[in-house]
Amino acid sequence: MDLFEYQGKTLFARMGVPVPQGSVARTPEEARAAAEEIGGRVVVKAQVQVGGRGKAGGIKLADGPDEAAAHAEAILGMDIKGHTVGVLWIEQASDIAAEWYVSFTLDRGAKRHLAMVSAKGGMDIEGVAAEDPDAVVRLHIDPVIGLTEWQARALVYRARLDRPAARAAAATLLKLYRAFVDLDCDLVEVNPLILTGTGEVVALDSKVTLDSNGFFRHKDFEDFREAFTEDPIEKLAREAGLNFIKLDGTVGIIGNGAGLVMSTLDVVSLVGGAAANFLDVGGGAGADTIRNALDVLTKDEAVASVLINIFGGITRCDLVAQGIVEALGSLDLPWPIVVRLDGTNAEEGRAILAANADEKVVPAATMREAAEKAVELAGGA
């Protein structure tokens, strides 16, 4: 789950990483009030779950409350790479002596944590890494003992951060790493981490991606979601425990297992169609899960036909068939449903459908046949 900058900073503050004082604002008036309370110069920052907001005009410096309100007026509602700005973060302007880049993430290839530090922060770090690879210092961390003090120091010295600030910088790296691990993050990125004129090290931005698998350890993290303006269909799907992503085509896809669903998308594309979505019911789906999945697709007007592709393992095909039958009885399903069942209890499932389903349900013997029928029923390629 990608957090807004201010949410990440809340977590940083909790872990002892210095961040500038600031407040959330959702209206120009709230922005003005925040600027008044902070005093002096403030920065008005669009909160979006996407990079590049600075270039897009989503970050503005204001000399006082009036200017802050005016900037807020301009930024609220702005579209930044498909994200509409609904929340602002008003924060005290910082006195910047140096801008650095820091991140902690998992290197899947090495199966270890990876720290990256650069003295060239505050700009497009991918560009820096491409043009001058030595400017981004990389160091692998053994998750068993975590970032050691010598590694934190080595990162600081090798990246050639300002030497007098080395001790403070290394201490901040250690705290950010603790946040990365203890808060179950997939990513902690700070760009820029700044050195102020008075020698303090402060996180001026935050990009934090939380691992939702770790939420059982952090009961309050689910609350972060309240700040997001989520697509209503995606929200419905999430609340039903379904993994749903909206796509651009007309064939609604329901399957079990991310690999099989991805593959179904590919085969639909191969036979000339386009998927309307990715919907993975996961392992061990029961009848209810299938009913809920079909219910989610009824909310998407782009869907012209639906393809249910199940290969039973932990999932039982008889329960899937039962869910389809229940949905037919209780929901108003406007499209034909091509169903392909294989694996655990597949025959029982097919028998249930043959006995109970109406003509909306079209059986298919293979994945390819199912894709061809669904594309045809959706109105062709």
Binding site: D184, A258, L265, T344
Partner: protein, 290 residues
């Protein structure tokens, strides 16, 4: 022969008294797998369908000679369960089915096992391992399998079934099918499994099912070039996946141009692997090898 599991497998299931654990463990037993014990802390001394339950894995091993552990315990306790299985002397394979383990736990456990034990871990978030006609340790539907000469390895659960199904319906059997799981830090990699298939006398060809994200397929390609003399057929899922979107498996995130299905297909083709673009073609491709 076969790899990882066979007639000598003696299985202990962590979480046998749970709904999912029990369902699949007894399916495994019905298939002929030697299910010798279950472990559920606090239920030691009881039994389920004739299988004794122990409080700890080491007690189960001492009492029953179990040599393979399968973990079905919920995500908050799964990392610890894997450590427990790894510490039990006599356990030579751990299969972790549990989905939803935090990535930080996986990373810590993977590295700790690497540093302290030689016991392989398959998974987590995987369908397990089946050696058709010998043993099934996991949740794969054994009905779709057939004993024979092809080794199958896959990052995806249901897609593995699809691939095996394609083989079996053409009468092509399998030595062993291994689902390594699609999590960020799988205990066993493509390379580990390829190494075993290459060394297995009965395996004549290999099917490798990959997907977008990570660089496991690229590492597999390197290893195939260097070490694998048997023919390999591969399918990569996610060709049409939108870039940068998270597709269920935490792993399946496209980062830049690396990790795309196209890049993986090219890497594998470059080392002589037969890459198919449709999972239903896997059977045909393998059939045409001989």
């Amino acid at each position: 022969m076969a790899i990882y599991v066979d007639e000598s497998t003696k299985l202990v299931v962590q979480g046998l008294t749970g709904r999912e654990g029990g369902f699949h463990a007894f399916r495994n037993r019905d298939y002929g797998t030697d299910l010798v014990a279950g472990v559920t802390p606090g239920k030691g001394g009881t039994e389920v369908q004739g299988v004794p339950i122990f409080d700890t894995v080491s007690e189960a091993v001492e009492a029953t000679g179990a040599n393979t552990a399968m973990t079905f315990v919920p995500p908050p306790f799964a990392a610890d369960a894997v450590l427990e299985a790894a510490a039990a002397e006599g356990i030579r394979l751990i299969v972790c089915i549990t989905e939803g383990i935090p990535a930080q736990d996986e990373a810590r456990v993977f590295n700790y096992l690497q540093q302290t034990t030689r016991t392989p871990l398959i998974g987590p978030n995987c369908p397990g391992v089946i050696s058709p006609g010998k043993a099934n340790v996991g949740i794969m539907p054994h009905e779709i399998t057939l004993p024979g000469p092809v080794g199958v390895v896959s990052r995806s659960g249901t897609l593995t079934y699809q691939a095996v199904h394609e083989l079996t319906t053409r009468g092509i059997g399998q030595t062993t099918c291994v689902g390594i799981g699609g999590d960020p830090v799988p205990g066993t990699s493509f390379v580990d499994v390829l190494e075993r298939f290459q060394a297995d006398d009965e395996t004549e060809a290999i099917v490798l099912i990959g997907e977008i994200g990570g660089n496991a397929e690229e590492q597999a390609a390197e290893f195939i070039a260097a070490e694998v003399t048997k023919p390999v057929v591969s399918y990569i899922a996610g060709v049409t996946a939108p870039p940068g979107k998270k597709m269920g498996h935490a792993g399946a995130i496209i980062s830049g141009s690396s990790g795309t299905a196209q890049a993986k297909q090219e890497a594998l083709e470059a080392v002589g692997v037969t890459v198919v673009t449709d999972p239903t073609s896997i059977g045909e491709a393998v059939a045409s090898l001989s």
